[in-house]
Amino acid sequence: MIDLQIPTLTTDRLILRAPEARDFEGVATFFADAERSWGFGGPLSRNEAWRWFASMIGHWVLHGYGFWMVDTREGEPVGFVGIWSPEGWPEPELGWVVYQGAEGKGYAREAAEEIRRYAYAVLGFETLSSNIIPGNARSVALAERMGAQYERSFENVTHGTEMVYRHPGPDDLAEGAA
């Protein structure tokens, strides 16, 4: 038996919940779009996107954390945001994908900040980083808005060169909130 409990998290405008079979179409559409998915290992065929989606669920089983599906409170799919640490990753990273039509509203930041808070407060993470492929200016801008700073570059086993952006730690955030 697998004991998999994915908590539902809520923010002002968003619901972060466990992935379900019905989420596959949105994931497949994202990965079919080279313009949107190139910074995330795409584009992927429908078949490969299904395997990626299944691995995203399996990641929860193997690590106890992973990507949440993000919906608006009205139930509109926004994307997926979470903590990702497959074999070969230098450390768990905070990652985000926003679907076409949902950008520009601050949803990724709202979800990512909630997950960062959860990772520090509940999972006990002491640090978090985000790996960003050079040229992905939107992700860099978001990381910087969240207070993350460029730290170094490394060779990702599957994506090639990536930049590591280091997020403020639990103490930094606590001070900032004081």
Binding site: M1, I2, D3, L4, P19, A21, F24, S45, R46, N47, E48, A49, W50, R51, W52, F53, A54, S55, M56, I57, G58, H59, V61, L62, P86, E87, G88, V157, T158
Partner: protein, 180 residues
Amino acid sequence: MTPIPTISTERLTLRAPEQRDFPGFAAFFASERSKFVGGPVPAEQSWRMLAVELGHWQLRGYGRWAVEETATGRFAGIIGLWNPEGWPEPEIGWDLMDGFEGKGYATEAARAARDYAYDVLGWPTAISLVAPGNDGSRRVAQRLGATQDGLFTHERFGTLEIWRHPAPSELSDGGMEAYA
């Protein structure tokens, strides 16, 4: 999460795959022996494949089990029910880890998986896909009473032989009670 049932056969235990199975799983998928089933691949990729095995259970309600040699507790293979996006129809698949070949384990576990598919899930039929040249796998299909039933071409794995298993009505004395 879909609970993954545990099944016992004469010599084997079929249970949920876990992180502790990864070393054996990765060793198999890094070896030449995996050339008929998508390998060889580095550990970064086989870890994701193990994650896919688990996610498959959640998305389909069935999947492949980690097969343990009951007497030793050693991880012997990944065997069970497999139907990722793009598959022609649900199949019974078997990958034996290094060192567990030649004991009839694939046949024993696959038969239990087939019984589960027929008796619990109500499948009316089942296939197994065998890569041309994978003689060991073809022999398992034959021992299970399957017969060749055309070809299937997959975007990544190329052309595969479809082996059709006997239907539930054609199997005598093959039900779950055989393993009770």
